[in-house]
């Protein structure tokens, strides 16, 4: 068979062969025609206008609202939000009026979770501590989205030297672990002496933006050469406007997913810093601070440490679950076949 080598015409063009006439079989082939009623012809390529219009977001929403993961996480997040905004609706005991006479007392009527060593109501402190933790998480995420999003979008869209500079800058920050960088930063006198929610947010944003920048950059690169972007340029849209109007909206899905997951990790980071005594000042009620002050007593009164830790875990978990649910709904590639 090997003698039957056909020269590769990719490489050496052969003479133009004669016209082909098709194959005629020596067998008898029956000519079958299906009855027309069975498969009625329909118009070529007609638009189906029966179903309601569905944008990508609407489609994602339709998928999401059936997912238990999404429903549970959204309900939990809503609950946490309401608690953060109106803590007085959930606790009528002032968390700051502590009576040493109640020190380390157990649960009793009106004080379902008992008292801390300082005699403060644990339940009320957990409820009131929500706001600071959530604020740090929320504002850090917003800051990270703005800085990381802008940096990533510009780097990905324009490429060239802008990309080189911004991407390397991001890598420098990315190389420093979030917590380690924040610890070092918070030790600096300027931060140590002005500790508040905002300094913690600032420090976390400084070390948190490269992740969003990377995701944004990747998504933007994927979309910047799409035909619809070229088409809009050919319509006369400026390069920058094409970025804002077409590229960024199409790059949002992965950014939203990562943002919701990292919101959880920022809350953990705040709690860690506060636990180490360099995050929020003790005057601000937060789960991290409460865990820190309960820590010496972990053997004889573990409940005091347990409750803020549970609140923290549930909040973080629900944001991570939300991120997972969003990933499934917004990223068609990850969908199960």
């Amino acid at each position: 068979m090997s003698e039957n080598l056909t020269p590769d015409k990719d490489l050496s063009p052969a003479a133009t062969p004669p016209a082909r006439q098709g194959k005629v079989s020596s067998r008898v082939i029956e000519h079958y025609v299906a009855p027309l009623e069975e498969t009625p012809l329909s118009a070529v390529d007609s638009v189906d206008v029966t179903a309601a219009p569905l944008s990508l977001w609407a489609e994602a929403w339709r998928n999401l609202r059936k997912q238990p993961l999404f429903i549970i996480s959204t309900l939990l997040i809503l609950l946490v939000l309401v608690v953060a905004i109106f803590p007085q609706l959930f606790a009528n005991v002032d968390p700051t009026s502590c009576d040493l006479g109640n020190s380390a007392e157990g649960a009793r009527s009106g004080h379902p979770l008992g008292f801390t060593l300082q005699g403060c109501d644990v339940y009320s402190r957990v409820i009131y501590g929500t706001r600071a933790s959530l604020m740090v998480g929320l504002f850090t995420t917003i800051g990270v989205l703005i800085i990381g999003g802008v940096m990533g979008a510009l780097a990905g869209y324009y490429g060239g030297w802008i990309d080189v500079i911004l991407a390397r800058l991001g890598d420098v920050f990315f190389a420093l672990p979030l917590i380690l960088g924040s610890i070092v930063m918070m030790q600096l006198p300027a931060f140590r002496e002005n500790r508040s929610v905002w300094t913690v947010v600032l420090v976390l944003v400084i070390f948190g933006w490269p992740q969003i920048a990377r995701i944004t950059r990747g998504a933007v690169i994927e979309n910047r050469n799409a035909d619809f972007v070229t088409a809009s340029k050919a319509l006369g849209l400026s390069r920058f406007k094409a970025l804002v109007r077409h590229v960024v909206p199409n790059s949002l899905a992965p950014i939203i997913v990562v943002a919701s997951i990292s919101l959880g990790t920022f809350i953990v980071a705040e709690a860690t810093l506060s636990f180490l005594g360099i995050g929020l000042p003790f005057s601000v009620m937060s789960w991290g601070n409460d865990i820190a002050s309960a820590q010496p007593q972990v053997r004889n009164n573990p409940a005091v440490l347990l409750w803020p830790a549970v609140a923290l875990s549930i909040t973080v978990l629900s944001f991570i679950m939300l991120g997972d649910a969003l990933r499934d709904a917004l990223d068609p590639k990850a969908r199960k076949r």
Binding site: Q21, D45, D48, A234
Partner: protein
């Protein structure tokens, strides 16, 4: 095994009455479980393949042709199952055969050549390894597997097979990859080869070589072939028997040439009428058709092939329907676009930061008369799309000039460029990429009006309605999103968007290449009607000469960045001067079957 086949089919063709079919599909039904409930992808399909025979399944995307073939080799997706009927392979019902039996059959009894040569070879393994894998899986590797691999690759038409076997897929061109895949498919001399659109991703001339080669090899081995294709011309040319599928059903089957010449089912008739490779004339708008019919009746003399060599005289006699034609607009016939000595050099990054020059476009001259269609034809890498990009002023030429209505395009800046954008619009190839998935259809078509600050919200809505009507889409489409529309519908929306600014020139970059035949014919007809109605000029970039004949008045043939032939469409088709053009023409599948 194959020797037995040969005896049966090649040496004893007369002995046919008592043959058992190699593959017989009876009343096959395939159901897919989807989120929206079960979908019957295939219903009561039947087909018979005799040993050594080539049978082609033809149909549009979604007609169930690939699904039927996948069922025969037991490779349906996990949510699909055979819900009725039988599949007999050599007398054995394999419709519900276990995985173990199917593994035995695959490779040495039923081979497969997949569709996309770019993604069906594993990029991390050498070609030789991937061939060896197939041989090993079927216990054919033996001790001298290196020689066997080389032999298999040589048979598939790859020269220097021993060396080639050591290369990775990315070092192969598309045609070579497809040869490698054919080598793998035929490595174990199967009795049936399923070829699922084996050449759809390749240039026509390469497609022809590959199919010729596949023909030779399967005839030699006595292998029966189940060819799946959307191209009726190709199917009729390569197969003894055609099976036409539509909406999951077999609507017509029989001898290939018989079906082609005497189609019975209306769907088959529709397909044959629409197939560009089988047509031999330019499309005509309804208006010109009527005018010609009138002329014919008056003069009582036939118009040759219904085609007017220069469409301008035929059209100039008709009143222009263009309502908003500017008074200063020149009459049809003058030159609207003139490309002179156009050259584009790309710098390719080589090793160690060195750059090498690559001339993508080399000294190209094209003149496009107003109101006509100029086609630029060439294979991938011929530089035709680069010319389009430069004409759209999206890419700066290295040398040469592009004159649009007498004005140099490349030096345009600011306001002048903005105005130029209004008058020259593109339509791109990929219907899935050219519309922003986040914009609904209304916003998509309104965007150009908004960018150019034309009218107010109310007048823009009116205009969008008009445009949708012009591309024969219902007004209800406005609130829909691109992901709800089919490829052809999206392409029509892209046409509407391009028309929004009343352009003079539309540059179609492979605008119909990704569409099914019928849909393609629909879009081509639309483009043609619009040209007549609005006096549009098209620069039509395509690799498909068959389409050129339907839409173009003039043709420029490009090869590796150079113009090799430029003339009127008739001239090029009837009397091609260059070898390259002749090759391209003869590679159109089925071109000679109906004449």
């Amino acid at each position: 095994m194959s020797n037995y086949e040969k005896d049966m089919s090649v040496n004893n063709p007369a002995k046919k009455t008592d043959e058992t079919p190699l593959l017989e599909i009876r009343d096959l039904a395939i159901t897919f479980e989807t989120a929206n409930g079960p979908v019957n992808a295939v219903r009561s399909a039947h087909l018979t393949i005799m040993p050594g025979e080539t049978v082609a399944i033809v149909g549009e995307s979604g007609s169930g042709k690939s699904t039927t073939a996948l069922a025969a080799i037991g490779l349906l997706p996990s949510n699909g199952r055979v819900s009725g009927g039988q599949i007999f392979f050599d007398g054995e019902d394999i419709a519900h055969a276990g995985e173990k039996r199917m593994v035995e059959l695959r490779g040495n009894s039923i081979g497969m050549v997949p569709q996309d040569p770019m993604s069906n070879l594993n990029p991390v393994w050498k070609i030789g390894f991937q061939v060896k894998e197939t041989l090993k899986a079927n216990g054919l590797a033996g001790s001298n597997h290196k020689e066997r691999v080389a032999e298999v690759l040589t048979n598939a038409g790859l020269p220097d097979a021993a060396l080639r076997a050591k290369q990775y897929p990315h070092e192969f061109s598309g045609g070579m990859r497809q040869r490698a895949l054919i080598a793998i498919g035929l490595a174990c001399s199967p009795r049936l080869l399923i070829a699922d659109e084996p050449t759809s991703a390749l240039d026509v001339t390469v497609q022809r070589q590959i199919l010729d080669h596949l023909d030779t090899m399967t005839t030699e081995l006595g292998t029966a072939v189940l060819l799946i294709t959307h191209d009726l011309g190709l199917a009729a040319e390569r197969a003894e028997k055609l099976v036409v599928m539509y909406k999951g059903q077999v609507v017509e089957s029989g001898a290939a040439l018989e079906i082609l010449r005497n189609p019975q089912h209306p769907y088959t008739q529709r397909l044959i009428n629409a197939a560009p490779s089988l047509s031999s004339r330019r499309l005509q708008s309804q208006k010109v058709k009527d005018a010609l019919a009138g002329a014919v009746a008056e003069l009582d003399e036939p118009v040759e092939a219904g085609y007017t060599p220069s469409p301008v005289p035929a059209k100039s006699g008709l009143p222009s329907l263009r309502k908003d034609a500017e008074p200063g607009r020149a009459q049809a016939g003058d030159t609207i676009l003139e490309i002179k000595n156009l050259t584009k050099v790309f710098k390719l990054r080589g090793a160690l930061g060195k750059t090498t020059d690559f001339k993508a476009v080399d000294d190209v001259n094209i003149t496009v008369p107003r109101g006509t269609t100029m086609a630029i034809v060439g294979e991938s890498g011929s530089g035709k799309s680069t010319v389009a990009q430069m004409t759209l002023s999206l890419l700066a030429p290295t040398e040469g000039s592009i004159l649009f209505d007498g004005v140099e395009v490349n030096t345009l800046k600011g306001k002048a460029l903005f105005d130029f954008r209004r008058r020259v619009q593109p339509i791109f190839q990929d219907p899935y990429g050219s519309l922003d998935p986040m914009f609904n259809i209304y916003r998509t078509i309104e965007e150009p009006l908004k960018i150019h600050k034309i009218g107010n919200a109310k007048s823009r809505e009116k205009k969008v309605r008009e445009l949708l009507d012009q591309v024969s889409m219902p007004a209800a489409t406005m609130s829909r999103f691109p992901n709800e529309l089919s490829g052809g519908q999206r392409q029509r929306i892209a046409v509407a968007r391009a028309l929004a600014l009343n352009p003079d020139v539309i540059i179609c970059d492979e605008a119909v290449s990704a569409l099914d035949v019928l849909v393609q014919a629909q879009v081509l007809n639309l483009l043609n009607e619009l040209q007549e109605e609005l006096g549009l000029t098209y620069l039509f970039i395509t690799h498909d000469l068959a389409v050129v004949r339907q839409i173009a008045d003039h043709v420029t043939v490009m090869q590796s960045g150079r113009v090799v032939e430029a003339s009127s469409t008739d001239e090029v088709f009837n009397n091609p001067q260059q070898r390259y053009t002749q090759d391209l023409l003869s590679a159109i599948p089925g071109a000679t079957l109906l004449v």
